[in-house]
Symmetry: C2
Subunit: 260 residues, 2 copies
């Protein structure tokens, strides 16, 4: 099934726009998990088993797996294969971007080796750097647009010209021939989110930055709309009770939206 | 030794501004190599052994290794460890970029797992996404500025405002507190290279796009200056005689420059 089909089905079935970011950190793992033979996969499996009926997607960020070397990436593959069996889509947050033939190698790694349903890409190098990803028609491609970190103002929203993030949103709208594109917009900027939603129509918008990064949940839900995917990572996976935390956020999202 | 120290020493010793891109592709490997037990490392080792006195750096692009899964990344690590013994610096072309704590995980992977002396980063997310790399003071950080692919015009050089690539060059100049920054400028744009060189002073400039991509070698050498690192990948490593091809390009670069 296509990413967008899986996403809509999961959102509908679980009445949820919540995506859980699997941003692992061995220093924060419980001792019991650290003592297991495969701590990264064991940790993820426990989170997944506890939250499978509460989410519309899972989003591991590959950086945290790469930092643990070959073992980290092997555990990432086991994690995505495990999620693949559940019907919930996996968004592998990788933010890749390179010239065409190199981007094709990255796309192969992300969709065929790591078995993701969707990924994030960086637009800096323009259309031909994103195209090899888009050419996987059944996969989802979230193009970085406006991010929630402090550095967003250096280039994405620099003064004195049409903000770069609006130009990116307009380009992604044009690139969306196969209906598999989306954008990433941080939860810290709900006025800008509204403007971007107006440009990109009903594309999925991945909205990180609530939870540990403290973004504006209400504005993100309202302006993100039905396909606004709210991502929280550390605030859920390292909570004393991840299921309770995920349920609380899922329900809060639904209260702010028109779903319920 | 720091990246910049290794780079200058190798350039001086080998009288070379040539960097060879180790962009592997099993489909183009000789049968003898394919039949070996570790084809990726064997291929790279042969290229390195043949060209070690002709280059100032080697530049594997991690995408091509990721595309071969866990084995590809294991072979990448063996390759960088092999190059590390020679004194020639390794630039791991990875173009990463993410929020601060995620960028820190990427930096750890690149410098501590993959053992690179330098890397390329994407500036789209601004200063805090680049800072964790820069904080490795002895490592080299090449920030993408103006690239040689066709998509450069989508954002980097869009009309109607100061070109983004000039803004990036100015920001990198400000970020260079530890003297370990550089920029990436494609060989297709020598007028722009001249303008960027004027901004960034004596920073290293990594210049891909000669060779298979057909960039302007003479302009790249002249405007790139002493620390203009000319990269060629497929045109050398898949040549019938890689050493002859590397020597030819090294000597051509030197003819165009004032070194010889």
């Amino acid at each position: 099934m296509s990413f967008i089909g899986k996403l809509d089905a999961a959102a509908d079935k679980n009445q949820s726009r919540l995506c859980i970011g699997l941003d692992i950190d061995l220093k924060r793992f419980p001792k019991k998990i650290l003592d297991s033979s495969d701590p990264i996969f064991s940790f993820n499996k426990e989170i997944i088993d506890q939250t499978i009926d509460l989410v519309c997607a899972y989003k591991p960020n590959i950086a945290f797996y790469e930092a643990y070397g070959i073992y980290g990436l092997q555990a990432l593959i086991r994690t995505t294969e495990y999620i693949n069996q559940t019907g919930i889509p996996v968004i592998l947050d990788a933010k890749r971007g390179d010239v065409g033939h190199t981007a094709a190698a990255y796309a192969k790694a992300i969709f065929e080796i790591y078995k993701a349903d969707a990924t994030t890409v960086n637009p800096y190098m323009g259309h031909d750097s994103v195209e090899p990803f888009i050419n996987y028609h059944t996969k989802g491609i979230f193009v970085l647009c406006l991010t929630s970190n402090i550095g967003f103002k250096d280039f994405q929203a620099a003064d004195g010209r049409e903000p770069l993030y609006l130009s990116v949103a307009k380009h992604v709208k044009e690139w969306n021939h196969f209906g598999n594109c989306g954008v990433v917009v941080g939860a810290t900027s709900s006025t800008e989110l509204k403007a971007i939603r107006a440009i990109v129509g009903d594309m999925p918008i991945l909205i990180p930055g609530v939870g540990a990064q403290g973004g504006d949940l209400k504005g993100s839900v309202q302006h993100g709309g039905k396909r606004g995917i709210i991502n929280a990572s550390r605030s859920i996976i390292f909570a004393p009770d991840p299921r309770a935390e995920a349920k609380k956020l899922r329900d809060e999202i639904n209260r702010f939206s028109k779903i319920n």
